[in-house]
């Protein structure tokens, strides 16, 4: 369990063996969820080096809903993957609640993903051979303090479709199962990479409502990547990325409910 207050327990139980506190900042719940300093990522493809992130300094706080905007290749996904422990930076520092995430082994990253982060991708990536309930149960079987699959599916309004296989669900329903699966572990962080990219507007709205509800009710730090600039209005904070750098950061005075977004 990685909600504020319980974080210590979670970290101590699962990650402390491997995560080292930064020398000048003792791990405290009052720390931002993520602190990045000079975060860079270079991909070596053949003879060419592609700089995906170029010295990003940024913080993400608990309970925030952040939207990342930017053209293709601006570094949004790279940033998200590094935050979620799917990738490691080439240089710079990233800490999670004051714990260093840059120099940890694969096992620690696995535990980090297992207990602290939920992912939602553009393609739903459900296991086709498992029903909606079982897809969620997959996580609840390994997480420390999960909600029940039924609770999680209720949160995304799928309580009545729990025993359907992915092939029997619409795209929007599948994406909501993916969200339920991501949040069933009560993660501290929910990372969504173009969650509505493969959906039509109406379906997209139901999916975003589910994301927003989770952010609001569970206080989960939620970071959403999108190409759709109008989604920026539902966020607390909007970051624009270009050429691997955060070029603009603005805070919304008020968050617009999803239904009121101007599509």
């Amino acid at each position: 369990m990685c909600r504020e207050g319980a974080l210590h327990t979670a970290i101590l139980r699962h990650v402390t063996d491997a995560l080292n506190p930064l020398p000048d900042s003792p791990a405290l719940p009052s720390h931002p969820v993520f602190t990045a300093r000079g975060l860079s990522k270079v991909y070596h493809t053949g003879e060419l080096d592609v700089v995906a992130l170029n010295g990003v300094d940024i913080e993400f706080n608990s309970g925030e809903l952040v939207v990342l905007l930017g053209p293709s290749g601006s570094g949004k996904s790279t940033l998200l993957n590094i935050l979620g422990g799917l990738d490691v930076p080439s240089s710079g520092q990233l800490s999670y609640r004051g714990w260093d995430l840059t120099n940890v082994d694969e096992h620690t990253l696995t535990l980090f993903r297992r207990n602290c982060v939920g992912f939602v991708f553009q393609f739903y990536n459900l296991i086709p051979s498992l029903t909606a309930r079982e897809n969620v149960a997959l996580i609840t079987s390994i997480a420390r303090d999960p909600m029940t699959p039924e609770e999680a599916l209720d949160m995304v309004n799928l309580g009545n479709r729990m025993d359907h296989f992915p092939s029997q669900l619409s795209g929007g329903e599948q994406q909501r199962v993916a969200i339920a699966r991501a949040i069933a572990k009560r993660p501290e962080v929910l990372l969504c990479d173009e969650p509505t990219g493969a959906l039509d507007i109406t379906t997209g709205i139901t999916v975003l409502e589910a994301v927003e509800r989770i952010n609001r009710e569970l206080g989960t730090l939620t970071v959403i990547i999108t190409h759709n600039a109008s989604m920026a209005q539902m966020a607390d904070r909007v970051l624009n990325l270009s050429d691997g750098q955060v070029v603009k950061s603005r805070r919304n005075e008020t968050r617009l409910p999803v239904r009121q977004l101007d599509w």
Partner: protein, 789 residues
């Protein structure tokens, strides 16, 4: 060289899937290697035999008799249909070899002095033929000479008709009638104690009072003439000369043994490729099906660009054909190598002037054809699915795979299953054929491991059964000529004899309707306990008074069953012909035999207390004294020592089983590894998205691997019992094919054999798991998940 762009794509795609290519090609190569090996061995043995028979003029008809004047040979030669006649003297003598405590047997065949041999011509390996004026010179058979380290210039002591004589070896030779060089009716050669000697006619004939006469006859039948009428006429002519009765080459001991071996090879040359190629065909199917699913959009592109369905189909067919070509090449090399090694094994059993492995290139062509057909069958359905797809539809992603709860869950057992176990169950159920063939492939591997172990088990059982339960004597001594009761008395009073039981054996032809066989009918006293007759359940059988007891195989050959009456035509003495009821069937494993109560047989023969020899147990303390005495007893012609037979049996079969065992071990490991690797590789490719998802949501590498491998593990576990059953089945098949009139084997499979098979297959599977597990570790999580399905 210009390579078409589509072929360039083929080559690059192939290089990306080389692991699987190699796995499938190897499984295919195993079947083809077995096919090429067996067919090449058939070609080699048959070709060598035919050339040898032709060049050295192997006779078509054989006969032996008591004594007939040479003039009778001329009358036989005049029978229409006879092209050539070789009349000779053939006798068995006791040899006294300094290095061998037991007496050995020399089978002496006379050589004409005034002309070269017409039939069964001697092939002189080294030295020279005996000089006409030399009585004591002999050419010795190669196998015997090698076993006893004899060469031209050496001498050897033999007892010719009661007189010890020193024979001088002038040369080493071979003959087409002794390709399989063993005492009549023996399953395996004992070259140390049995050898063939060729001596001048007069030297042998004089010693046995056969001067101007012969006791053995070989005929060459004119092309186009039938052997049967010739034999009938010859038997009529020689009826008064103690004729045993003519028989054709088919019934000739050495020729028959060689034929039996060829028949076994023929059975194997069909059975193996069928099994291996079926598995390989499926593997090709699975690999190609996966490839075509992955290349759905590429296929649409190709068709959109204007390639015809035929061109696209051919492109994917070529993947299968490349596998076939690689498989055939490896198979040919493997077959050649294995054949070359096994030919060496045959030289232990069969003696030819030279036995050089000949590759059957037509088998290679056939292998290519057969495997191409198998692969095409494997590929056809998936290629067809690919080409019939309209381009527009193919451009769209494949619809999500449809799943349903597995049978076990529908039975209400779902609550006991973890999600990952459910995934495994449902995946297996959704692709039943794929699962079934994976199981079939692994069963094949397991079965292949069972087979050589079972053969070894059978031989162990045979040795225990035949040598300890049935044959409880230490030695069997035969007299040169059937003798009276005093002969038995003499044998009984040799030093160290603990017990002795008399044996009377007569040459006879057993007939049932159109079926007949020539063999010795053995008479034994009631309650005989040294050579025990055992039924199929290993129970001792008493010889009933009247009636006959025979090998179950003999009854099968004669088409007779228990209680049937067969005709017994005795071929010696007064040649009585009677009928006898089959009163019992015995389970024996070498040759075919028939037994009668001693008194009944003697009544049958209208004779007194005649015997041919005795079964004896010897006090070990007196062993050497006993053997010395036997060597000095002129009347004792053949002494079979049980422990020597056992040692010879163990040596020859042990060595060949060892070779076969290694061969099958390699095949089993290749198939087990190949099948598991291929299935795991396909599963990894098909399920990479699921597996990446599991990794992203927080499953550890180990946990994800256990999902993938758990499913395959279930298939492996399902395959093991089936494989053991299959192994038993294939063992039964092989042992049935091996069940000839000369050799048979009991069907025995020990727990050790089953366990070894399971362990080997599990180990091979674990190795493939390890290899695929390493690939799983390198899975690009993000790449996979962000790709469109």
């Amino acid at each position: 060289m210009l390579i078409l762009p589509l072929d360039r794509k083929l080559l690059r795609d192939l290089s990306h899937m080389k692991g699987q290519m190699v796995a499938v090609s190897l499984v295919m190569a195993c079947g083809l290697a077995m096919m090429i090996m067996t067919r090449s061995l058939i070609l080699t043995l048959e070709g060598t035999r035919d050339a040898y028979y032709e060049r050295n003029r192997m006779a078509d008809v054989f006969d032996s008799l008591k004594r007939a004047p040479m003039s009778m040979a001329e009358r036989v030669a005049a029978i229409p249909g006879v092209a050539a006649v070789e009349a000779r003297v053939v006798v068995d003598v006791t040899l006294d070899l300094p290095a061998v405590p037991e007496p050995a047997t020399g089978h002496i065949v006379s050589l004409p002095e005034d002309r070269p041999q017409v039939l069964n011509q001697l092939f002189l390996r080294s030295g020279r033929l005996p000089r006409v004026d030399q009585r004591r010179e002999a050419v010795v058979s190669e196998a015997f000479a090698n076993a006893n380290k004899l060469q031209a210039g050496d001498s050897i002591v033999a007892v010719l008709n009661g007189r010890r004589d020193t024979l001088f070896i002038t040369g080493i030779g071979l003959s087409p009638e002794f390709v399989f060089e063993a005492r009549a009716g023996e399953t395996l050669p004992d070259n140390k104690r049995f050898g063939v000697f060729w001596m001048n006619y007069r030297a042998v004939a004089t010693a046995y009072n056969l001067d101007g006469a012969f006791n053995d006859l070989c005929l060459d039948i004119s092309p186009g003439a039938e052997a049967a009428p010739v034999i009938a006429e010859m038997d009529r002519l020689l009826a008064n000369y103690g004729n045993i009765g003519g028989y054709t080459r088919r019934d000739h001991a050495s020729a028959q043994r060689l034929n039996d071996e060829l028949n076994v090879l023929r059975a194997l040359s069909v059975a193996y490729p069928i099994v291996f190629l079926s598995v390989a065909a499926f593997m090709v199917n699975a690999v190609l099906a996966r490839l075509i699913r992955l290349q759905r959009e590429q296929i649409a592109q190709m068709k959109a660009l204007g390639f015809s369905s035929w061109q696209v189909g051919l492109h994917y067919l070529k993947f299968g054909l490349v596998i076939v070509v690689i498989g055939t090449l490896i198979g040919a090399l493997g077959g050649r190598f294995m054949g070359g090694s096994l030919v060496h094994m045959y030289t232990m059993f069969f003696r030819f002037p030279s036995l050089v492995f000949h590759m059957d290139y037509s088998a290679m062509g056939l292998a290519l054809l057969v495997s191409a057909v198998a692969a095409s069958l494997g590929v056809a359905s998936v290629v067809w699915q690919a080409v019939k797809l309209p381009p527009a539809e193919a451009m769209r992603p494949e619809p999500p795979t449809d799943y349903k709860p597995s049978v076990l869950e529908r039975m209400g057992l779902a609550k006991h299953f973890t999600p990952t176990f459910r995934m495994a169950m449902r995946n297996i159920e959704r692709r039943p054929w794929q699962s079934l063939f994976t199981i079939a492939g692994l069963s094949l591997a397991t079965g292949l491991m069972v087979l050589p172990g079972a053969m070894s088990d059978s031989i162990d059982y045979l040795l225990t059964y035949q040598w300890n339960m049935a044959q409880r004597q230490d030695v069997v001594a035969f007299l040169t000529e059937p003798g009276s009761g005093s002969g038995f008395h003499d044998l009984q009073h040799l030093p160290g004899v603990i017990s002795a039981e008399p044996v009377r054996s007569v040459q006879a032809r057993l007939r049932n309707g159109p079926h007949s066989r020539r063999l010795s009918v053995t008479g034994m006293p009631p309650g005989a306990n040294l050579n025990r007759l055992l039924d199929g359940n290993g129970r001792q059988m008493d010889l009933p008074e009247g009636g006959i007891v025979m090998s179950a195989k003999l009854a099968e050959v004669l088409g007779a069953k228990l209680g049937d009456e067969v005709v017994v035509e005795v071929l010696e003495g007064e040649r009585p012909t009677r009928t006898a009821v089959i009163r019992g069937l015995i389970e024996d494993f070498a040759g075919i035999a028939a037994y009668m109560d001693l008194a009944t047989l003697r009544r049958f023969m209208r004779e007194g207390e005649t015997i041919n020899g005795a079964y004896m147990t010897i006090d070990a303390k007196y062993w050497d004294a006993f053997m010395r005495k036997v060597k000095d007893t002129p009347r004792a012609a053949i002494v079979l020592v049980k422990k020597d037979q056992l040692a010879a049996f163990r040596k020859t079969t042990g060595e060949s089983i060892g070779i076969i065992r290694t061969l099958y071990f390699v095949l089993a490991v290749i198939v087990a590894f190949g099948v598991v690797y291929n299935s795991a590789r396909i599963a990894l490719s098909e399920r990479s998205r699921d597996l990446a998802t599991l990794r992203v949501v927080g499953f550890s590498q180990k946990e994800v691997a256990s999902v993938l491998l758990g499913e395959l593990g279930m298939l492996v576990l399902a395959a093991l019992p089936m494989g053991l059953l299959f192994g038993r089945g294939i063992t039964t098949f092989i042992i049935t094919s091996l069940s000839t009139e000369t050799v048979r084997m009991p069907l025995v499979v020990s727990l050790f054999t089953y366990t070894t098979a399971v362990i080997v297959v599990l180990t091979a599977a674990a190795c493939s798991f390890w290899v695929v597990g390493r690939m799983l570790d390198k899975l690009d999580l993000v790449g996979v998940l962000k790709a469109r399905e």
